[in-house]
Symmetry: C2
Subunit: 341 residues, 2 copies
């Protein structure tokens, strides 16, 4: 990007217009981020199809699109099924490619399944785009896990990539396929490296998606929860801000071929996060304990992202403070917990 | 490694002693580098088993182990067959893990096969080691392709990793699995990033393994050959030097968990290489032509490796000059060409 040209940033109205009447496919669209994105796209008047495997250990939940039956087209299927992919991508204007195995621990116990979903299926998806929807605009949800243990904070996109678990290795391959298919085959892809995303519709049944989920569940069930370590800094993106970034990336032509970190308001330690949660909830207890040995080995220590590149390129910035994010999330699960545990 | 302690380097005699009577498994052991390694190990008195798929497009050739029937145990099978792997690794002291799909172009045409061999099968191999041979010492053959187009020359191990083709992405995943299984599961692995390796028993039928192969074949068949580009610098490791590095890496305990570049004598441009080859052969012609469009996109430009890290850690350095390497290679194929085309 040349220094002298100020990039044009899309405002909310322009964003809505960019997606109105357009066809968008969301893999993992019954999941946490995917369903929030689907809802926003539908509110813009886009024609949305979601594909989701509804594998019980993953993020998909039919409740996530409740109230939009008949508006959003839901197709239960697995992105590992390579033969159905051409049908899905044909005729789509946008692909938000969010399907993935997210559990670091599961990736260590069953590495081949992680590889199948996070790497092999991504190749199949991109091959389907290349052959059946060469004009499609792709946004891929990658992860800060690619960086491994940071050399320094905050972590910018040029930080060395040294994943510390199988999940990070496979997500890196998935990300690189997207950039390669842009570079070599002209499939216009943008990569967003997500950090911890929180908000309504996240998985709270267990820690497979985010540890914040089980904390919130424990709070609402009047149980104590555990904070491992406690002094690690972490940043948190509210899901609406994450959705905003996905939409900006898809609608901005200059974002094709680029990699952007997402981030959040100033980072907090996990212990501080726990204290804020208890405070907002009005009650609750937690214990700080040492990392279990098997998790320590794949822990990345403190992390927070430098998100200045996407701010400059797309005008994105986190708009939701941490307390507001946690308050809205808690309020959602006070009403909806029964559908998520 | 502490600055004040000079690492102990193994000399040839110590190396031979380290492998004498030990059990070594070589995946891809009927291939170019694997068979040269198998021969050396056998000469040291190691008990060698090679596993090779003999897929016609890959490097395996039964001729490569001619004369060692009954000395080296040959098992034709594919590392993608995960169920046979425990049988192979059990009881082995060393695993030289060289099986791979090496063609950059093939990886772009059939990316899933490349992924299956260079990534998925590597996970299976490491899982087999972890479960059935946790004490095994592993040496993995990686590639300079991981670096992509260099920012600067020579390229050290800390150069950013930006593969430009599917093969590079999958080999990167394969390499990272090895380092991860060392780090987390204690499977002691060393990664060597190979550059162009040349010598007897390389594939000369086509350019799937190295372009030098088809040049030599053309020379010996009195046909003109093509040099694409011509001004790119490249470095070449003679196969005996590569084998020496593999053996040093396996026998040096401090090499576990490390990544080392291999390299060669001072680099030459491709045009210079062609001229030297013609001169050594005593006759021959070639044409310099522009890169074909589909290959240009995945070309890495000039490359040569900084191999000072392995020199310092293991005492390795290329011992064979480029002219000597080419002379021996040409002499081999004058005798053996019939078995390789």
């Amino acid at each position: 990007m040349k220094a002298e040209t100020k990039p044009q940033h899309l405002d909310e109205r322009q964003l809505a217009r960019a997606y109105r009447g357009r066809r968008a496919l969301i893999t993992g669209g019954l999941g946490f981020i995917g369903s929030n994105l689907a809802r926003r796209l539908a509110s813009y008047g886009a024609r949305v199809t979601v594909v989701d495997s509804l594998i019980p250990e993953y993020g998909g939940n039919l409740r996530n699109l409740a109230g939009l039956e008949g508006v959003i087209q839901v197709n239960i299927s697995d992105v590992r099924d390579r033969h159905s992919l051409p049908v899905f991508v044909r005729g789509q204007d946008y692909l938000f490619n969010l399907a993935g195995q997210t559990s670091h621990m599961d990736s260590m116990v069953d590495p081949e399944t992680d590889l199948e979903i996070n790497a092999r299926a991504q190749l199949s998806i991109l091959e389907a785009c290349r052959r059946h929807a060469p004009e499609i605009r792709v946004v891929f949800a990658s992860t800060r896990q690619l960086y491994g243990r940071p050399d320094h904070l905050p972590v910018g996109e040029d930080h060395p990539l040294r994943p510390v678990d199988v999940n990070g290795i496979n997500k890196l391959a998935g990300e690189q396929y997207h950039l390669l298919y842009h570079q070599v085959h002209g499939v216009r892809s943008t990569v967003l490296r997500l950090t911890n995303t929180i908000g309504p519709r996240m998985r709270i049944k267990d820690a497979r998606q985010t540890f914040v989920g089980v904390w919130i569940r424990a709070l609402l069930e009047d149980r104590s929860f555990e904070v491992w370590g406690g002094e690690q800094l972490r940043d948190f993106t509210y899901v609406d801000d994450c959705v905003h970034a996905l939409l900006l990336a898809g609608a901005t032509e200059a974002a094709a071929g680029e990699v952007f970190n997402l981030g959040g308001p100033p980072p907090v330690t996990l212990k501080e996060l726990a204290e804020i949660l208890v405070e907002i909830n009005g009650r609750g207890t937690f214990q700080v304990r040492a990392f279990p040995a098997d998790r320590k080995k794949i822990d990345i220590g403190g992390f927070y992202a430098d998100w200045s590149r996407i701010e400059q390129a797309l005008g994105w910035r986190p708009r939701t403070g941490l307390r507001a994010a946690l308050r809205r999330t808690l309020a959602f699960y006070r009403r909806e917990r029964g559908h998520y545990v």
